[in-house]
């Protein structure tokens, strides 16, 4: 277990222990409540942190958990009085609270998984709005579903069994689970998808599946918090789990830092300490003969100010993206990510068929035809240069050939298998890697994690290169812990190639990898690209505006103009091709020399 987690766990235990030994019922009540809120905010943080999607809907699941736990543990006589219409199977049982919490967790994880599958199809704000809808729907169901609830009336008489130690135990369990998940391979790919969903998919990550898993884990923790809430307070009604709660949980997460488990705990601690302090001075007091008058509302004002100050001064929260471990200089970041090995059967597949074939692709944007019946094949051991004036359709072609973009006609086959459109994850798994014209890294992840996310997503041969080998291949050795967005431009371009290499591709599609590089960097890049062809036997599609480089490196060059493939041939043939010169200089300048143009 990581030192940061151990420290948090020890702090929780010490607080709970001291409370148990020394504090009266009022403080115990406050401390238990604090730990339950820690469970809830850490649970919410698992979702917000790993998916990057804010959820307003978590209190809905907390409510369902509270009701389910209450129904399972309420004494039968009380239950018959409160909810006379309950089905006998629920009405006639009264379970041990531990068993009830377990059942609640499993049930809510199932619901969370189902709803997660639906919500994971939505991105960003749409997903957030969907969670808001969930909250409102659930609230209405709880108020209206009087078979299982008491409508708007309170459910009461739930045995109050939660002690500070029990609540602290749950909080520690939540922290351990959240931290383990965050740094597991599933957490890693989810965080990669959080940073850039398109790049994640192109790196072989199943974005939806990872989001659904995040949602499920997050809901399971929320269910734990909801069940404990019922067993702590003993009384609740649907209104306890509505907007007020949504906002106070989110406020704590924002103050602490939504993408960090430590931040979630810190947020709860700060807001709790602040409001506990402020509410004690609210009724007014005497100090040195001066009477400070009562000022009710101070608590709410204080916590709101804390939220505003955080958003203004430190928008990513107190802890930002960092965990406690990141502040402990003696703790090395996790390095255990490994690729899943391909099965023997998969490895002995038809090697001879290695070919990326694009057949008759047509792509239209409204009235504009970006690609018109383009067919092109990429072989292993070759660099295929793709050139053409601005707007000729090069990047569109690359996006169609890597599954990012859907097209209107034609097919793409990888190793003889027809690929489904708009499924970049499948392309990555079939051996097609790519980089992007506008760099799309997992910006706030480290160099190591950028490569690791792709590496764990796509299985490969047991002897495929390790992360360290890949990084040294693109001259980024020793930069593992740098955050991707802090790298220089050239380094970022090379990291994108490294990430693509981590998926063990047979084909690599590079969209302007040399753009913005100086001549030294370009030369360095050219060496890397050549060695990938010559040593690793990759088929490389290379788009760039640096024509001398293309003509020098490529085995073949294809030329696009206004969406039409106007020429394919050796660099020498392309140099002489009048159509190509015309495309670049216009019909009247057909006698101009492409080489002379490109030399400038």
């Amino acid at each position: 277990m990581k030192p940061g987690v151990i420290i948090l766990a020890v702090v929780c235990l010490v607080i709970a222990g001291l409370t148990t030994v020394f504090a009266g019922p009022a403080i115990s009540n406050t401390v238990s409540n604090f730990f339950i809120v820690v469970v809830l905010v850490v649970g919410l943080g698992v979702h917000v942190g790993n998916s990057g999607i804010v959820s307003f809907g978590h209190p809905a699941f907390m409510a369902i958990a509270a009701y389910l736990t209450a129904i399972l543990v309420l004494p039968v006589a009380r239950k018959k009085a409160l909810m006379p219409n309950l089905p006998d199977i629920l009405g006639d049982i009264s379970l041990n609270p531990v068993v009830a919490i377990m059942i609640t967790l499993i049930f809510l994880a199932l619901i969370g998984g189902l709803i997660g599958l639906a919500i994971s199809r939505l991105n960003g704000a749409s997903a957030t709005i969907a969670t808001l809808g969930l909250l409102i729907i659930t609230h209405s169901l709880l108020v209206g579903g009087t078979t299982f609830t008491r409508g708007a009336q309170a459910v009461y008489g739930v045995p109050k069994v939660v002690t500070p130690l029990i609540a602290a135990g749950a909080a520690i369990a939540a922290i351990i689970l959240a931290d383990w998940f965050k740094y597991s391979r599933w957490g890693l790919v989810a965080r990669a998808a959080r940073e850039d969903a398109v790049a994640a998919a192109a790196s072989g990550i199943s974005v939806q599946r990872s989001r659904a898993l995040v949602f499920t884990i997050s809901i399971a923790l929320t269910a734990l918090g909801g069940g404990l809430f019922a067993l702590h307070l003993g009384v609740f009604s649907p209104k306890e789990f509505y907007f007020n709660l949504t906002f106070s949980l989110l406020a704590m997460l924002i103050v602490g830092g939504g993408t960090s488990t430590t931040g979630a705990v810190a947020g709860v601690a700060i807001i709790t300490l602040l409001s506990e302090g402020l509410r004690r001075v609210e009724p007014g007091f005497d100090i040195g003969g001066v009477t400070v008058p009562a000022l009710f509302g101070l608590t709410t004002i204080g916590t709101s100010l804390a939220l505003i100050c955080t958003l203004y001064l430190r928008p990513e929260g107190l802890m930002g993206l960092k965990e406690l471990d990141d502040h402990l200089t003696w703790v090395r970041p996790l390095r255990g990510y490994k690729r899943k090995n391909l099965s023997r059967a998969a490895l002995s597949g038809p090697k001879h068929l290695r070919l990326l074939e694009v057949h008759g692709i047509t792509k239209r944007y409204g009235g504009v035809t970006a690609l018109q019946d383009v067919s092109l094949a990429l072989n292993p051991n070759e660099i295929l240069g793709l050139i053409g004036p601005n707007g000729s359709g090069k990047s569109t072609f690359l996006s169609c050939a890597s599954g990012i973009q859907a097209f209107d006609e034609g097919t793409v086959q990888v190793n003889g298998i027809a690929m489904r459109q708009s499924d970049p994850t499948a392309f990555a798994h079939a051996g097609v890697g790519r980089t992007f014209q506008n760099i799309r890294l997992f910006s706030r992840l480290s160099v190591y994690e950028n490569v690791a996310a792709a590496l764990v997503a796509v299985p490969g041969a047991a002897d495929a290169p390790s992360i360290a080998q890949i990084l040294s291949r693109v001259n980024l050795a020793g930069m593992d812990d740098r955050i991707a967005e802090t790298l220089s431009y050239g380094q970022q371009r090379r990291l994108e190639i490294a990430r693509a290499l981590a998926t063990c591709p047979s084909f690599l599609l590079l969209d302007e990898p040399a753009a913005g590089m100086n001549s030294t960097e370009t030369a360095e890049l050219a060496n890397i690209i050549c060695s990938l062809r010559d040593v690793d036997g990759l088929g490389i599609l290379l788009i760039d505006h640096d024509l001398p480089m293309i003509l020098r490196l490529s085995n073949r060059v294809a030329v696009l103009n206004e969406g039409h493939l106007i020429a394919v041939g050796s660099p020498a043939e392309i140099r002489e091709n009048p159509k190509v010169t015309a495309a670049y200089f216009g019909e009247r300048s057909a006698d101009q020399n492409l080489e002379a143009y490109t030399a400038t």
Partner: protein
């Protein structure tokens, strides 16, 4: 329970500074009243005036030597922010600080959460204005309803309706709160017991604006019901009433204290004849009118609702209990409260004896007439008429 006084919230918060308290230390001759009430949040419009009224009574009694002339009354006022969790924490703190009486917020969940703690500690508790009678079963014998219970308001309105020879009733409910859900049902039960008939029931959602479906159902009844009863309040009640009248339904409309607001009167012809109940009407020369004047003197603004009066009455109940018990011991106070019979308070009389914690207290019946509220009657309903609480 509900009073549409949101507009007054500004005035209330300006007045919270009046609620100066001093840290109380438990002493044998000091009656400590712990207020775990909502001075902020959605319950503030109800809890704040209740505390204001209580404060007037406490100051008066202390000026006269304390409760029963011997127990000085000290108040510990804490804001629970309309939050159930906070209420349970604060009540425990007040119990630890030596409270002899606990005052709880104006809603079921926080009242139950806090009331159970007071019950365990053997300390009597009163909710400012939670009106759900079933709370006495949920909490126990140490809990007392203070305000007019929904069940009492519903029964009183039903009795009056039958006296007016209204024999068919239509109920409009909203399940979103027990107040809007159960009060009309209590009305219906008593109305039926007294020989009337409930001919239909519709439901609405808070803030739905369009009542055409509900209104059409009523308009299609042939003949129209004699009375339409609802405990809807703003903004639902005015919207419903307008649409009902424009659909040509001229049945009597009965409401509860939720519509005891200037808005109802300002609706003009539409609200003419609407009957509603509340905890008291300041008839000239009555104790309530005197209290209204007193409130104006203390807080420098006119009183527009009955919560301050019921808060004042609550302290009178507590003082009476201390007087009868002769001690501040919890069980003795509980016993004394439950034996109070016909105590004169600002809103009329109040009786806890034989009522299982739900007081029989005066309910005023009022009617909108010519753009003003006219007092019809003030009465205490016979306990035998009350149905079982939901």
């Amino acid at each position: 329970m509900i009073f549409s006084a949101f507009a007054r919230t500004v005035g209330i918060s300006a007045c919270t500074s009046c609620l100066l308290t001093t840290a109380a230390v438990a002493q044998d001759d000091v009656l400590n009243i712990g207020f775990a009430v909502s001075l902020t949040g959605y319950l503030a419009p109800y809890d704040t005036p209740t505390v204001e009224g209580a404060k007037i009574a406490i100051d008066e009694l202390n000026a006269a030597g304390g409760a029963d002339g011997k127990f000085k009354i000290e108040s510990m006022i804490r804001d629970v922010r309309s939050d159930t969790v906070q209420t349970s924490i604060v009540v425990q703190e007040l119990v630890d600080a030596g409270a002899d009486i606990i005052v709880l917020p104006c809603d079921d969940d926080p009242a139950i959460a806090g009331g159970l703690i007071a019950q365990d500690a053997g300390i009597p508790s009163f909710s400012t204005c939670a009106t759900n009678a079933s709370l006495t079963q949920a909490i126990g014998e140490f809990y007392f309803v203070n305000y007019v219970a929904d069940i009492v308001q519903g029964a009183t309105l039903a009795q009056y309706a039958r006296e007016q020879d209204l024999s068919t009733a239509y109920l409009l409910v909203s399940p979103e709160t027990t107040y809007t859900g159960n009060l009309p049902e209590y009305f219906g039960e008593v109305f039926t017991t007294l020989g009337g008939a409930v001919v239909g029931k519709g439901t609405y959602s808070f803030g739905q604006q369009d009542f055409s479906a509900e209104v059409t159902r009523i308009a299609n009844l042939d003949p129209h019901p004699d009375v339409v009863m609802t405990s809807a309040y703003e903004p639902d009640f005015p919207a419903f009433l307008r649409q009902l009248r424009s659909a040509g339904v001229m049945s009597a409309v009965y409401g509860s204290d939720g519509i005891d607001s200037p808005t109802t009167v300002s609706l003009g012809d539409v609200s003419e004849g609407v009957v509603f109940s509340n905890a008291g009407f300041p008839v000239e020369g009555s104790p309530l009118a005197a209290f209204f004047a007193k409130y104006n003197d203390v807080y420098g603004q006119p009183l527009t609702n009955s919560f301050a009066a019921t808060g004042y009455d609550m302290i009178l109940v507590i003082q009476e209990a201390a007087r009868v018990a002769g001690s501040l011991e919890g069980a003795a106070l509980q016993q004394a409260v439950s034996e109070i019979d016909g105590l004169n308070v600002s809103t009329g009389t109040i009786t806890y004896a034989g009522r299982n914690g739900i007081p029989a207290r005066s309910v005023s019946l009022n009617q909108v007439s010519n753009g003003a509220v006219v007092h019809l009657d003030t009465r205490v309903i016979d306990a035998a008429l009350l149905p079982a609480s939901k």
